[in-house]
Amino acid sequence: MHKINQRKAARLLASGLFITGVSLTPLSSAMAQQFAATAFSECPHDAFLTQGAQSRTFGIDLVTGDYKIEANKHRLFNGNKRAKNGRLNGLGFNYNDNFVYGWSYRHGQPARIHNDWTIEPLGNINITNNNFYVGDVSIPENRYYVYRRGHRYGLFYIDLDPASDTYHQMHQVVDGETMDLRIADIAFHPTTGAAYAVDRSGYLFKIDAANGTYENLGHTGQSGTFGAAYFDTYGNFYISRNKDGKIFRISLQFNDGFRCALAPITVGQDSHVDFGDAPDSYGTSLATNGARHGLPGQPQYENVFSTGVRLGWSVDSEGGAYSSPLSDNDQGHDENGIRFATSLIGNRVARVEVQAPEGGILSIWLDTDRNGVFDGNDQVVTDQVMNDGYNLVAFNVPAEVEPGETWARFRISSTAGLAATGGAPDGEVEDHQVKLLPEPATVSIYPSVGGYSTVAFEDNWPLVGDYDMNDLVAQLRTYTYETSLGLTRVEIEGRIAASGAFYRNGFGIRLPGVLRSAIDESSIEYEIAGRKIDTSPLEAGRNEAIFIIAENVFEHVLGGPGCAYYRTQPGCGAPMEFEFKLSAHLSTPQDVQISGVFDPFLFATPGEWHGAHFVSPPGRSYEVHLKNQAPTEAFDMSLFAGVGQDASDPATGQYFVTDTGMPWGLEIGSEWLYPERYD
């Protein structure tokens, strides 16, 4: 009797009569509270998988494939303390009442699952004598559908609408011969109500559950038993193959799946997920099934984790991928586990140092043909076990490489067999922009691989002016490549650190001693803020090799509202937004020695006013160089007229020097903390 009352109470609860049900005297208040908490409080974010003869349910992070056991066993909802384990299949979450529905094998009935993962059969409503393993909830219809192939089976639904006259009744839609699909799971689109499934041959079917008709949408390219199917709120469909656990579109590894179809698959800022930084063509964001790793444990602070399998001492979680050119790889925690000990040269062994504080299994991909994807022979290291701490990893760079900048991806995890994309339950992904060389060369890097040298200019020349040396502040790193025949290639990486100028200024860099004609202009690659610039930065009409980085720096940077200057006033332009990379091959090797920051200079933006002391805007004819560096051929030598404090004397090789020997331009071989603006 007591059991009956409990069942009745459960039915009443399910029927929406619970509010009036408080008058049911057989129920104690404690029991009533227990029942009140039976539904899930909200649609869980994760997907779930249930498997095994004694079903266990796992909560799945659809972003990474990470999982945890939600229910080690499913107690039968009968109040019996000797309850046996229940076995479930065909699960689906009903957003209308926040219950999970599935098929209970022990009861041979459809059932709903409470928030403590107990199984409550919906009653003796099975109009067949069979069990079902294919099922899902249609949210728009508020129905739980089950299906099994064969003439004795078919497609059925259970009405879940408490207001319906057929509430908790089972109806047949079509028999299992008319609807003849060899499918292992089904998923309803969250908004259209259409059902989808992939059969064992790999064909995708769209099913109209109202009448059991279906349409073959084509072959997926994969075959096997897909025992789990999901939709996310964006209409993306995910299937899991039983034989190998491979998840297509999202990384899940178990047998029967369901999820809250209306719960978006999102990764919040408080997520425990690490993404890569390469352009999205490599598979970086969630939308492109990008490489991503769950971060078990708790952050050390904010979003920084320093436990578990990882690269470098720390790894940061991200709300989503910051694909280049928006990468966050300079934030200190992201790309800090890999150091390149040698150049990457075609058909040569390269070395990298890998910092793996807690070991792990490492794989490396290198886009050797620079086609923007990791494909073909791009995997250069596969499942190499890392010791705790620093590891020196050697790998062969393929013989056929396309010289220039490309991307390398490093993935470490406790899981082997990772591809270049997809989720992993733990570990980290680091994407690095690297340079491929076709042959051995002497590569000089200034000031160092990881450093910048700062150049700062005053734009009041020939007047000393405020002399705060922040009218244009740039940070530069240069590379020169030499073979036995001479200089073959130059690269410049830099960023505008500040512009405290009232005037409008440009920024250029000359290659001292190199003629313009020596540059293979077609080889030039120039990008600003990660975006390729089609216009050649090699200044036209000159004999010298001069690169115009920007004709007007203020066209590329913004201090912000109320800011007249960029990064020289508090709150005006926090990030360095103007980062550039420039590379150029020389047509023929040049017997010339260039080093350091080459010859950077400030010039007046053409057409822009540059002070009342000029008859007209001096434009390109006005330059400011480092001390005693001669101007380019574009400079108007008549500006050396002994005006203001300028004591330049071309005859003696003195340029841009005051009458006290001070410069208008400085280089400081580090990331200099330039002065704030003086007004």
Partner: protein, 169 residues
Amino acid sequence: MKTKQLLTYTTCSALALLVAACGSPSVEGEAGPNLAAALPNQSESAQGTPYVAISDEELGWRADVPETATANLQVEDSFDFATSRNAQVDMNVPAAASVEAEATFCTNYTKLPDDTYEVDYNSCVLQAPLNGGVLSEQISLVNQHASVLAVVWFQDESMQPMYQEFHFE
């Protein structure tokens, strides 16, 4: 006004430190800054140049530069404020005489008790192949670095890397 002074001192001290680190400039004693040097007037030299005559008063902001400006410093005309210099490295590695090898030169490293090194490969300044075990190169080195470590890598992965330090004055 207080802010102005602070900022100016910041500039001045930063540059003064820089100069002190790079050489030995002379500093004029109590002489005032030469900031008010007038532009040439129209009748003298502005004609025929890109400049127009304009007075200091018309450039009023210039007259407000405080006396603590960096222009108090006076340096030799030949002092170029260079922050780096070229350093010569020459190597002869017999073990690489007949095998392919390359060297990586880095500025930030620590020698370990077993005579190997912990190297910060982000501090590397040169990567170069050895030719018959010989290498002769110039390194453009920021002044603050007085030494570099060369790590010799062999294409034969069974050969352990070799190390050699270079110290400069």
